[in-house]
């Protein structure tokens, strides 16, 4: 990053009970205007990080900087950070317009200016006609828009979003993802977004920080995260992947020769597999597996166990190397082989598509 970081977590730790760390040594730099998503399973520490940034939780050790200034001792209302909460947290006794006017009124803005800004913010989320409604009279999606508008109306440079789309149905959620993305692009605000939904993270973010066990497992743009996971947790958490355990036999030019536990030796990119004779797990995306048209060093025999027709592709569960959870996505197009249940075939992959990763506990 060339710019001075806009948000900077510097060695931040958080513990609630003095015995376990919920956040372990967090270091994260966020550039101005960036859309960064904290993604992880529940209990991974992502929401705690957001709350520390918002000022509702104090860091146990370490420092958080906003625009270069340490903010550990700045109370939440002076941080000027917009926030969208999981259940919107709209004030039920105020109308939509009053909700939006609230942050402006506490800033002692003039009445005419407040009215003007509220109208513009409502226009931005296409809710112009709903100013006089109470939140309870709105649908979930509409409440979501109001919450978004309220977090943006006082023009903060940083907006935090804590699983804001969690309560919406699938279609609306996808629609809102685009809308938030467009608003982000329009306004150029910095957004820190927390979610446990990987597709949401992949759709919206500039960079994604994958959290697990209080640690950022990988921080990368969406494509990198999917194509080049650093470790077994990320590979498993983002998208689908087939896992084959084995032992490293040799490493040459970044390519590892791995002896599979119940199969032949194959080649894989040596990403995070340690040295020769280490245990490792190979990770291959289901859509990168080739069936019957294999050339190169990586060939395995497989038996078709189950076929699931999904329209644009066919999901095929195979038994490979003694494991019967090997998934292959076969595109539904004429040039691809049609498989039948019980059939035996050859599967394989390009060495570049297979990554040898750490054998994290619980991933096999």
């Amino acid at each position: 990053m060339t710019d001075r970081p806009f948000v900077h977590f510097d060695g931040v730790q958080k513990s609630y009970d003095g015995e376990t760390l919920v956040v372990k040594n967090l270091n994260l730099e966020i550039a101005p205007g960036e859309f960064v998503t904290m993604l992880g399973p529940s209990g991974s520490g992502k929401t705690t990080c957001l709350m520390m940034l918002a000022g509702f939780e104090a860091a146990t050790s370490g420092e958080i900087y906003l625009k270069g200034e340490p903010i550990n001792n700045v109370p939440p209302h002076k941080r000027n950070i917009g926030m969208v909460f999981q259940n919107y947290a709209l004030f039920p006794h105020m109308t939509v317009a009053e909700n939006l006017a609230f942050p402006l009124q506490v800033r002692k803005m003039r009445r005419a200016e407040v009215k003007d800004k509220v109208a513009r913010a409502l226009g931005m989320v296409q809710m112009d006609e709903f100013g006089n409604r109470k939140p309870a009279q709105l649908s979930g999606g509409q409440q979501q828009r109001v919450a978004l508008a309220r977090a943006l109306v006082f023009e903060p440079e940083l907006v935090l979003m804590d699983e804001p789309l969690g309560a919406l149905d699938k279609q609306l959620r996808e629609h809102m993802q685009y809308e938030i993305k467009h608003i982000h692009e329009q306004l150029g605000v910095t957004v820190v977004y927390v979610t446990h939904d990987q597709s949401e993270a992949l759709t919206m973010s500039d960079r994604i920080a994958v959290f697990d066990d209080g640690v950022i497992q990988q921080l990368a743009p969406p494509a990198d995260l999917y194509e080049r996971p650093d470790n077994a947790f990320v590979a498993q958490f983002i998208g689908e992947n087939n896992r084959l355990p084995g032992t490293v036999r040799a490493i040459r030019d970044g390519v590892a020769r791995v002896a599979l536990d119940q199969g032949p030796e194959v080649d894989a990119l040596a990403v995070n597999c340690g040295d020769v004779s280490n245990r490792t797990v190979l990770s291959i995306r289901p859509e990168r597996v080739q069936v019957n048209t294999v050339d190169g060093p990586n060939r395995l025999d497989g038996r078709v166990e189950e076929l699931i027709y999904l329209g644009d592709h066919i999901r095929c569960r195979m038994k490979v190397c003694g494991r019967d959870d090997f998934i292959v996505k076969v595109p539904n197009s004429p040039e691809h082989a049609m498989l039948r249940e019980g059939e035996t075939c050859t599967v394989g992959w390009n060495t570049n598509d297979c990554r040898a990763l750490d054998l994290a506990p619980g991933t096999i």
């Binding site: 918002a54 000022g55 509702f56 109370p75 939440p76 209302h77 002076k78 941080r79 000027n80 950070i81 917009g82 926030m83 909460f85 999981q86 259940n87 947290a89 709209l90 004030f91 039920p92 006794h93 609230f102 942050p103 506490v106 800033r107 309220r150 977090a151 006082f154 935090l160």
Partner: protein, 430 residues
């Protein structure tokens, strides 16, 4: 869509009758069919509540209605003095008493003395004009020996029999359905000519007592709110384990007898009591100048506030528990200081609880009896103590009923006002 159009708009494609009502598959109107299918479950529900309904009717609703009826209907005189009552009612209330009135009176006095009902009758008339009690008992004793002309015979016994006021009081007592008791309950007097006039200044007690009762109830409600709100806030924001423990302390008074709690206050507050001893020990006051904290209004206020406090805390607490913490956080993230976040976001959300608690405490204290009776002394008596007095001592049940009726009306008016201002749907009792 209006109600009417809702009922008449048929579902397209469904069979309807001539008036457009939906028909069920077998051709009967759908509404009748629905009623029929619901009948069994409705009957079962009714049978389940029937015992309670009967109990409440017999022990609560009917006695209250009977008592309220007594406030406007008292037939003591009409029953026990059957001859003179109709004549007195027909009398115009201003002309001099006639011989016919006197004759009926003497005959009734004789019978009443025989039947030993003369005391009741005399008391009834005495309520309208004091001094008539002895007039009646005295005359009844001599009625047996009286001979015509009866008016002169009566005036011989006491010249009050010749006065219009005496017969006016008889006329009022003879009218069974009368507003006299309600008039008395608001310190007015219903006269024989059908007018109302206020009582003398020094004999007006009820209206000022009503005002005092309302004032005390308001003060107790306010004190409960001021003391209870912070406690409810504390309870709602502590971890569940701690707050449950503290909640027991709040509920503890519910498990001890009201009488015990009130007498405990006597031990605390009396001039040789715990509180005064502490004051003397600390040098706040001298040993010979101990505070009088009990048997006056102060005692009533302190004891009632303590006893009614849980009724304020519980509804507020349950409302506070339901307020998502994210609301206050949202307010702060939007730039509100702690105070602004509390006052503009948190406090409005607790209003349903305050309303419920306030109404509960107010209505309970407006009819409070035991505590003022025990610790109120002369000064701290409320309207309910007067009602009890008229029920038990003066045996003027009709006046007690009229006072109770007015109390009921006040409560209903308050309830209505609350509904208009806050909305009864906003009330949360827990």
């Amino acid at each position: 869509m209006t109600d009417a159009s809702y009922h008449t708009a048929p579902i397209p494609g469904s069979p309807t009758d001539a008036r457009g009502a939906l028909l069920a598959a077998d051709g009967t109107p759908l509404k009748a069919k629905l009623r029929e299918s619901m009948r069994t479950s409705r009957r079962r529900a009714f049978m389940l509540v029937l015992p309670l309904l009967l109990f409440v009717l017999a022990s609560f609703v009917v006695p209250i209605l009977m008592l309220l009826w007594q406030g406007v209907y008292n037939s003591t005189y009409a029953t026990d003095m059957p001859r003179s009552a109709p004549i007195a009612r027909a009398w115009d209330g201003t002309s001099p008493p006639t011989e016919a009135m006197a004759e009926a009176m003497v005959l009734d006095l004789r019978d009443a003395r025989e039947a030993k009902t003369i005391g009741k009758v005399a008391t009834r008339v005495n309520r309208e004009l004091s001094g008539t009690r002895s007039l009646f008992t005295k005359s009844a004793r001599r009625a047996a020996r009286m001979e015509a002309p009866f008016l002169d015979a009566l005036v011989d016994v006491d010249e009050d029999w010749g006065k219009v006021e005496t017969w006016g009081a008889i006329k009022i007592a003879a009218t069974s359905l009368t507003p006299a008791f309600y008039a008395a309950a608001v310190d007015a007097k219903y006269t024989a000519t059908g007018d109302f006039e206020m009582r003398d200044e020094e004999r007006q007690i009820h209206v000022s007592l009503f005002w005092k009762t309302i004032w005390v109830s308001g003060a107790v409600m306010l004190a409960c709110l001021l003391l209870g709100y912070p406690i409810a806030y504390l309870l709602a924001h502590l971890p569940m384990r701690t707050s449950n423990l503290l909640m027991i302390l709040v509920l503890l008074p519910f498990w001890t007898s009201l009488l015990v709690r009130t007498t405990a206050w006597i031990a605390m507050l009396q001039s040789q009591g715990v509180l005064n001893d502490i004051f003397v020990f600390l040098g706040v006051t001298g040993d010979d100048q101990r505070f009088s904290l009990i048997y006056n209004m102060t005692g009533t206020l302190i004891a009632m506030t303590h006893i009614l406090l849980p009724f304020m805390i519980l509804p507020i607490y349950s409302v506070m528990r339901a307020i998502p913490p994210s609301h206050v956080r949202a307010a702060k993230s939007l730039g509100a200081t702690n105070w602004t976040a509390f006052w503009r976001v948190y406090f409005p959300a607790t209003i349903p609880g305050i309303g419920a608690g306030g109404l509960l405490v107010f209505i309970l204290s407006i009819g409070y009896y035991i505590t003022p009776a025990l610790v109120g002394g002369q000064d701290g008596q409320l309207i309910s103590n007067f009602i009890a007095f008229h029920m038990q001592r003066s045996l003027n049940w009709s006046l007690a009923a009229a006072l109770g009726g007015i109390l009921l009306v006040i409560v209903l008016v308050l309830y209505w006002l609350y509904d208009r201002i806050v909305g009864i749907d906003n009330m949360k009792l827990g």
